[in-house]
């Protein structure tokens, strides 16, 4: 018995004094990123929250303390709620039109062996075009008088359409270019697909699993993590998107494409209401944080 107790002694000691191993190399590599995040992400965010409690004056900051007035203003603002609805509408349209496209492209590309490298390059090439140039190009394509789209559609007896001029079409028209700009997402999914052991696929084939069954039981489960990550990035991207609306419609027609990010810009640089802009930014942050949290929770549950 005594021997048995003595035999346990060293284990007890090991629990009392755990050895902490600090990976200095990892810390050295991570530190710059942490500092940059603190400086350029968290500090501006905290500053925006701080500003939201003031009638903020850029020249004589912070201006008058107004407590929650800027948030109360948002609750009663038709502009805010219109932008709020538009932002969610854009989220759903982007989801319907663009989110699944790179997944399908990657799966198809994974099946094609012939000229696969060339096709990958072709998909990726448009991402090298500056986004602003791309949006300007599409703006011209949509031009009701001289645009290529209406010109081509009239040959099959369609149109002319207002595209960006029609409040009911403007959102869809803004999102449409996104369908053709999936290069980077496609590459990420394609890389994930390359990580699936070919033996698994072959074994499934031998067992008689058809393409859809293989997709459901092997391919999608393997992609789930990447899809989750991409979805979080998609949520942030869509909620913060600004360039296409700003360039193609300026938020019009009749505020039908004005989003929360545009409202932040307008409130600050056109109306000089930096406090209001800060409060909208914080609301956006909360929305994105909540959706992301729910998404992560659901993924973990699965």
């Amino acid at each position: 018995m005594k021997a048995a107790i003595e035999g346990r002694k060293p284990q007890v000691q090991a629990r009392v004094r755990p050895r902490i191993k600090i990976s200095w190399t990892a810390i050295a590599f991570v530190s710059p990123a942490i500092v940059c995040f603190l400086l350029f992400k968290y500090y501006p965010l905290l500053q925006a929250v701080y500003m939201s409690f003031f009638d903020y004056k850029v020249i004589n900051p912070p201006g008058k303390f107004v407590w929650l007035d800027n948030y109360k203003y948002l609750i009663h603002s038709t502009e805010f709620w219109n932008a709020f609805r538009n932002t969610f509408a854009f989220f759903f349209i982007y989801f319907i039109l663009t989110f699944w496209v790179p997944i399908v492209q990657a799966v198809l590309l994974n099946e094609i062996k012939f000229a696969s490298k060339t096709l990958r390059s072709l998909y990726l090439l448009p991402t090298a075009v500056p986004a602003v140039a791309g949006y300007l190009l599409w703006k011209w394509l949509y031009n009701p008088d001289y645009g290529l789209l209406n010109y081509l559609l009239h040959f099959i007896g369609l149109g002319p359409y207002g595209w960006l001029n029609d409040p009911s079409m403007a959102k869809w028209s803004i999102v449409l270019p996104g369908v053709f700009a999936t290069g980077m997402g496609m590459l990420i999914y394609y890389s994930a697909l390359q990580g699936i052991p070919s033996e698994n696929i072959e074994a499934a084939k031998i067992d008689g699993a058809g393409p859809w069954r293989r997709m459901r039981s092997i391919v999608f489960p393997s992609l789930k993590f990447v899809i989750g990550i991409q979805f979080i990035s998609f949520i942030c991207g869509v909620f913060l998107t600004f360039d296409p609306m700003y360039i193609m419609t300026g938020g019009g027609p009749a505020s039908s494409t004005k989003t929360l990010s545009m409202l932040v810009f307008n409130s600050s640089f056109k109306e000089f209401r930096f406090g209001v802009a800060g409060s909208i930014s914080f609301v956006m942050f909360v929305i994105i944080a909540v959706i992301t949290y729910l998404q992560i929770k659901l993924s973990n549950k699965d």
């Binding site: 600090i22 200095w24 810390i27 530190s31 942490i34 500092v35 603190l38 400086l39 500090y43 500053q47 004056k57 850029v58 020249i59 004589n60 900051p61 203003y73 009663h76 603002s77 038709t78 502009e79 031009n143 009701p144 008088d145 001289y146 002319p160 207002g162 960006l164 001029n165 029609d166 409040p167 419609t249 300026g250 938020g251 019009g252 027609p253 009749a254 505020s255 307008n266 640089f269 056109k270 109306e271 000089f272």
Partner: protein, 485 residues
């Protein structure tokens, strides 16, 4: 072993300290900004107090600086672009200033790149990098900038300014707020109707007779519109600045979009008869008369391109822009300019626009004084005439409207048709400033205008009522409350 642990402990502390220092350096920057701001505020207040003796004092300060052997350096964003046709004369004028003011060194810089000049200026000022003097405080924006503390109260300087009575009264309206002068007029323009005489002739109209009223505007427009040639009667501005041109129609109908009460509060007039009549007319131009461009939301530049390329027969034009027409290949003999067609009120006032010189309230007293000296010099009769002479000598079309009453640009425009000069003067005889609180109310008016232009079934009165209700609750109530405090 102990040594190793001690090393780890100290290393951890050192890293934590470095991180804390970095973060505090960041927030320290902020607190130092706050300190600077409070110091600057004090500077600014002392400036205002000290500047009570006005421009004489400014000159005295500059002289004192000189006698002390010091030179004041000011920064101004007025460096000419390499392709600026006025580059050589501007550089000559700048050099002359430094010869006459050896104690002042002006650092001429190009305006930093950005989406638009207003945004760039506000951002630079917020970051403490704004210029000491700035010449693009546009008429409609200056009141907001004053409210934000972006412009120094120039009244003490202005009161002792020898040339203060030489500026035309309409040029001073927007820059004078609550009896205080915040801006010195830099340039101005008056708007009116442009018409393409060649297109008028081709449509069987008299090339020298513009439409005199709304009925004629529609009648002429229908004759000029030719969808087969993608040619149309008159341009509308329907993009995010849609309220800019729309307000002209409201004036022509006899109203305005806002009224300023004697106590400084604002009253919205979106639903008053003239505003509704104007929006109905605007809508009819698009849907009933079909004399405007298909793409009613196209950009301002696209509108200009339609004019230059002979697609738009009539448009809005500004007295300072004829040079662009010539530069884009139009024959000046085909360019017509007149006051706007009158609406139901029998009036067609032109809009007065332009920009002011302002001085940075956060800069030092010496720099403010030097900036004032610089502004006075550039706004002098001599310099204005020097520029006009250069333009005449080099075939550059001048702005036919001067902010100074003692400078007559038509004297330097001898090759330009007297008819055009007379039309500008006529348009300038009945003018209107843009509607009050425009910067805040634009989203509401634009929404109504765009809806009318994109939805044939929309009801202008209802659109304006919705716009007014929202604007009253979200902008005007708060504004009026702040005025009453």
């Amino acid at each position: 072993m102990k040594k190793k642990q001690r090393f780890r402990t100290w290393s951890s502390l050192a890293i934590a300290l470095v991180l804390m220092l970095m973060v505090s350096a960041c927030s320290g920057g902020n607190s130092s900004n706050v300190t600077n701001v409070s110091e600057a505020t004090n500077d600014s207040s002392s400036t205002n107090a000290a500047a009570n003796n006005g421009s004489d004092n400014a000159e005295a300060t500059a002289d004192n600086t000189a006698s002390n052997g010091g030179t004041v350096e000011i920064t101004v964003w007025d460096q000419p672009n390499p392709d600026d046709t006025m580059k050589s004369i501007k550089e000559e004028v700048y050099a002359d200033f430094e010869v006459q003011h050896p104690n002042i060194k002006v650092k001429h810089e190009l305006m930093p790149q950005g989406t638009n000049d207003r945004e760039v200026f506000v951002t630079a000022m917020a970051g403490g990098n704004g210029p000491d003097a700035y010449h693009s405080a546009h008429f409609p924006i200056i009141a907001d900038w004053v409210g934000q503390g972006l412009a120094l109260d120039l009244t003490p300087y202005w009161d002792s300014y020898a040339d203060k009575d030489k500026f035309i009264p309409s040029s001073m309206e927007a820059g004078t707020i609550d009896g205080k002068v915040y801006g010195v007029p830099h340039d101005m323009y008056v708007t009116g109707l442009f018409w393409n005489k060649k297109m008028f002739e081709a449509a069987g109209l008299d090339r020298d007779t513009p439409p005199a009223n709304w009925d004629q505007l529609v009648e002429f427009g229908k004759k000029l519109a030719d969808p087969a040639k993608k040619q149309y009667g008159i341009t509308l501005l329907g993009m995010e600045w849609a309220d800019w041109w729309f307000e002209y129609y409201v004036w022509q109908a006899g109203g305005d979009l806002t009224h300023v009460n004697p106590d400084g509060t604002v009253q919205l007039a979106f639903t008053e008869e003239p505003s509704v009549t104007a929006l109905q007319f605007y809508k009819d131009l698009k849907w009933k008369d079909k004399i405007v461009q298909n793409n009613v939301l196209q950009s301002y530049q696209d509108n200009m391109n339609d004019i230059f390329q002979g697609r738009a027969a009539m448009s809005n034009a500004a007295s300072g822009g004829f040079g662009d027409y010539v530069a884009q290949g139009m024959d000046l003999n085909d360019v017509g300019f007149a006051p706007y067609p009158v609406g139901p009120s029998g009036k067609g006032p032109g809009q007065i626009g332009g920009a002011y010189w302002i001085i940075n309230p956060k800069t030092t007293k010496e720099k403010q004084d030097a900036a004032w000296q610089y502004i006075m010099y550039l706004n002098s009769k001599e310099v204005a005439e020097k520029y006009l002479q250069f333009q005449q000598d080099n075939g550059i079309f001048p702005n036919l409207l001067s902010v100074r009453s003692d400078v007559d640009p038509s004297q330097f425009a001898q090759d330009i048709s007297p008819e055009l000069v007379a039309a500008v003067n006529k348009a300038a005889s009945d003018t209107h400033l843009e509607y009050f609180l425009k910067e805040r109310l634009t989203p509401y008016v634009v929404k109504a205008v765009q809806k009318a232009l994109t939805d044939e079934k929309s009801n202008p009165k209802q659109l304006l009522q919705e716009a007014q209700d929202a604007a009253q609750k979200e902008v005007v109530d708060a504004y009026n409350a702040s005025v009453k405090k």
